[in-house]
């Protein structure tokens, strides 16, 4: 589904990603871990199409297409979803209006008629259960006045509504208490299936106790320094990142 080859990315002349190689197949869950500043969020942003990052080398293929040529909204319409680390507030725009607009843009792109208001409300009700969010939340403005936990749940709720092919969850676990973490993780697990793929970006192994990844990668100084199965996460939890850092430095 996704194939990243030798991806180099710079922001304001400073190189942040220095040759990433990653292949994600349908039905897989990949975890990308690594210490602060290693480039995890940059990778997520580049995949979603944030403009301030400059791709200096390498390629990204998504469903056989050159992803880097697509506008961010087209990537989204083709099924790429980014769960934001810091979801943005949009005052005055209700969640209902926002999500209906988003869904209809996607439907239009796929040659479908706009969803009817009643069908949309039904769909919302259905999806709300996945992340156990309160009804009142969807009547409020997008993320406005939401608690940290509500914002993250709201991201997963949007993921549920848009049914993406490839979801990139950028530190969805940060700022969550244990109950919220469980709810969010359960939500993700419910959405996981053979047709889609998920990239989970996280600092901590904790989230991976709930969302069991097929592959774990460690990103350090803009490179994937180790890839392995889910056991790598446990090893990191135990030993921290230092041993990998040392290993990387000596290479």
């Amino acid at each position: 589904m996704l194939e990243i080859q030798n991806l180099h990315v710079a922001i304001e002349g400073k190189e942040i990603l220095k040759g990433i190689n990653l292949k994600v197949n349908t039905g897989e869950v990949h975890a990308i871990m690594g210490p602060n500043g290693s480039g995890k969020s940059t990778l997520a942003s580049v995949l979603a199409g944030r403009e301030e990052f400059e791709v200096t080398e390498g390629s990204v293929k998504y469903m056989g297409e050159n992803l880097l040529e697509l506008a961010p909204e087209d990537r989204a319409r083709k099924g790429i979803f980014l769960g934001f680390q810091y979801p943005v507030e949009i005052p005055g725009v209700s969640m209902v209006n926002f999500m209906k607009t988003a869904l209809n843009e996607k439907r239009k792109f796929n040659g479908l008629e706009p969803i009817s208001a009643s069908d949309f409300l039904k769909l919302m009700r259905e999806k709300k259960e996945i992340v156990e969010i309160a009804s009142s939340l969807t009547n409020r403005s997008v993320n406005e006045g939401f608690s940290g936990g509500e914002k993250k749940k709201n991201e997963i709720f949007q993921m549920a509504l848009l049914e993406p092919r490839l979801s990139i969850l950028d530190e969805t676990d940060s700022g969550l208490d244990i109950d919220a973490l469980r709810i969010v993780a359960n939500g993700v697990n419910k959405l996981r299936n053979k047709e889609n793929a998920i990239i989970v970006i996280t600092h901590y192994q904790r989230l991976l106790e709930y969302i069991i990844p097929d592959h774990v990668h460690v990103l350090y100084k803009g490179k994937i320094v180790r890839s392995s199965g889910k056991e790598l996460a446990l090893e990191l939890e135990e030993k921290g990142y230092d041993w990998l850092k040392e290993e990387a430095e000596t290479q």
């Binding site: 909204e73 990537r75 988003a102």
Partner: protein, 482 residues
């Protein structure tokens, strides 16, 4: 009747007007410049009664003693008042033989403003008075309204047919001494609309005035007077446009509203005068005095405005809450893009007991636009239990525009409750990217965000106006982000 209205509007507006450039349509004009002779000739052209000429001359003499106000947060260029034509009227003798001659741009402009030209608009039943350059071209639905005793006609007609009402109410809310531009208007105003709702009558349709500047080098000075007698109700709409020109043109209008006991007047404006081009060349200078008085107890005046046009806007729709239990409201969205400047807001003067006022002002600045809110809330000594709530929000797009807030509070009654809230926010790249990432393109994202921001005000507009206003906001801000 709707067909008739259609025909009238199309004829008058298309016949004597071509959009965007000056045509050789025969105009009847007075020479440039301003002096007593011009005023006498203007008054004579309109065949005005003596009291009207007197009023004009008094105003003119007073105006000569006044100076242009400099307190607004505006970069005001020098205006040469001798270089303006104060009277221009299309000679309405050409008859339109072919409707295909109607300029599609003009029709589109009408459509954008919600001017009832299409069939469905007729069904909504909006009576229109169209004022082009110096004269009111036609008032529709006049007879239907007359059956209810409602007078809705051009100001000139009112001067001829209802001189007593004009004498009684003209200048009673905005005296000619009020301010520089109001004084100028009082001297040279050419036409406008007059509306009188008799006691106990609820006006069954929206009344609408459509103002258009067409001629070159011409100032537009119209005035509107609305009188709502006891227990009456009227909703009034005003739209304005002007063609694109490199020269600035002056518009100085007056709107006066009188609301008697239990009367309610809603006044909605969608102002879309030509704003000048991207580099700030041309555009209308819009200096308008709008004021209403809630004269009788329990009366209510509500101003709603969407201001997207003009190079310079200077405008403070106000309410004098004279009666007890009166209500004044002001809802505003003002957009400045490119080099537009706006200094706008409201005044709420609380005189009566239990008087209430609400000010919701939403400024949107983009490009190099400068947007100022200026508002006065004044509570007089005897206005017990009066309340004001002011909310004043600014939205910035880009990093070269400005938003400014100048609230004035003068409270002489200890029991008054005054609230003022203000916020400034920015449409961030982050918000747009968030929308993009959900599959919403940038243009749709901006209109979603802007409309979300302006929702409280747009909701106050009559239905069909609100839809047009939304589109207008979108058009005004096109290309201002990203």
């Amino acid at each position: 009747m709707s067909a008739e209205q259609d025909q009238i509007l199309e004829q008058v507006t298309s016949n004597e007007y071509k959009y965007g450039f000056y045509t050789d349509i025969e105009m009847e004009t007075l020479p440039k410049g301003l002096n007593e002779d011009i005023i006498r000739r203007l008054s004579a052209k309109k065949n005005e009664p003596e009291f009207m000429l007197e009023y004009r001359l008094k105003a003119f003499r007073h105006w000569q003693t006044m100076k242009m106000p400099g307190w607004a947060h505006l970069k005001l260029p020098e205006i040469n008042y001798q270089d303006i034509i104060y009277y221009a009227a299309p000679k309405r003798k050409v008859s339109l033989s072919n409707l295909d001659e109607v300029d599609p741009e003009l029709l589109a402009t009408f459509a954008k403003l919600g001017i009832p030209l299409e069939e469905q608009k007729h069904l909504a039943g909006v009576a229109v008075d169209a004022v082009m350059d110096s004269v009111s071209v036609k008032t529709t639905f006049r007879e239907t309204l007359a059956e209810l005793g409602i007078i809705f006609c051009s100001f000139s007609d009112a001067v001829q047919e209802h001189p007593d009402l004009i004498k009684k109410y003209m200048g009673s809310v905005v005296p000619y001494t009020d301010n520089y531009f109001a004084c100028l208007n009082s001297a040279v105003f050419s036409d406008g609309s007059f509306c009188y709702i008799p006691r106990g009558v609820r006006c069954p349709m929206e009344l609408s005035t459509y103002f258009r500047i067409n001629a070159f080098n011409t100032g537009q000075f119209e005035r509107t007077l609305i009188v709502a007698e006891d227990d009456s109700y009227v909703s009034y709409l005003e739209g304005c446009t002007a063609p694109q020109r490199d020269e600035n043109q002056l518009h100085a209008a007056i709107v006066e509203i009188v609301a008697m006991e239990n009367a309610e007047v809603k006044y909605s404006t969608v102002q879309n005068w030509y704003p000048g081009n991207k580099d700030g060349i041309g555009g209308i200078y819009n200096f308008v005095t709008k004021r209403g008085i809630c004269k009788g107890d329990n009366s209510k005046i509500s101003w709603t405005q969407v201001e997207t046009g003009s190079a310079i806007t200077w405008k403070y729709p106000s309410c004098i809450l004279k009666g007890d239990n009166t209500t004044g409201e002001f809802y505003s969205v003002a957009v400045t893009n490119n080099y537009q400047q706006a200094d706008t807001g409201s005044k709420m003067i609380h005189i009566g007991k239990n008087s209430r006022s609400t000010i919701i002002s939403k400024g949107i600045s983009a490009g190099k636009g400068q947007n100022s809110y200026r508002g006065l809330v004044k509570v007089l000594k005897n206005a017990d239990n009066s309340r004001n709530y002011t909310q004043c929000d600014s939205l910035l797009l880009g990093d070269q525009c400005g938003a400014h807030t100048f609230p004035y509070l003068e409270v002489d009654n200890d029991g008054a409750i005054i609230e003022h809230e203000a916020t400034t926010s920015k449409i961030g790249e982050d918000q747009i990217f968030y929308c993009n990432q959900r599959g919403i393109d940038t243009e749709t994202a901006i209109s979603l965000i802007i409309n979300g921001y302006a929702k409280e005000v747009l909701n106050k507009l009559p239905m069909e106006f609100a839809v047009e206003a939304q589109k207008l906001l979108q058009i005004s801000l096109e290309g201002s982000v990203g």
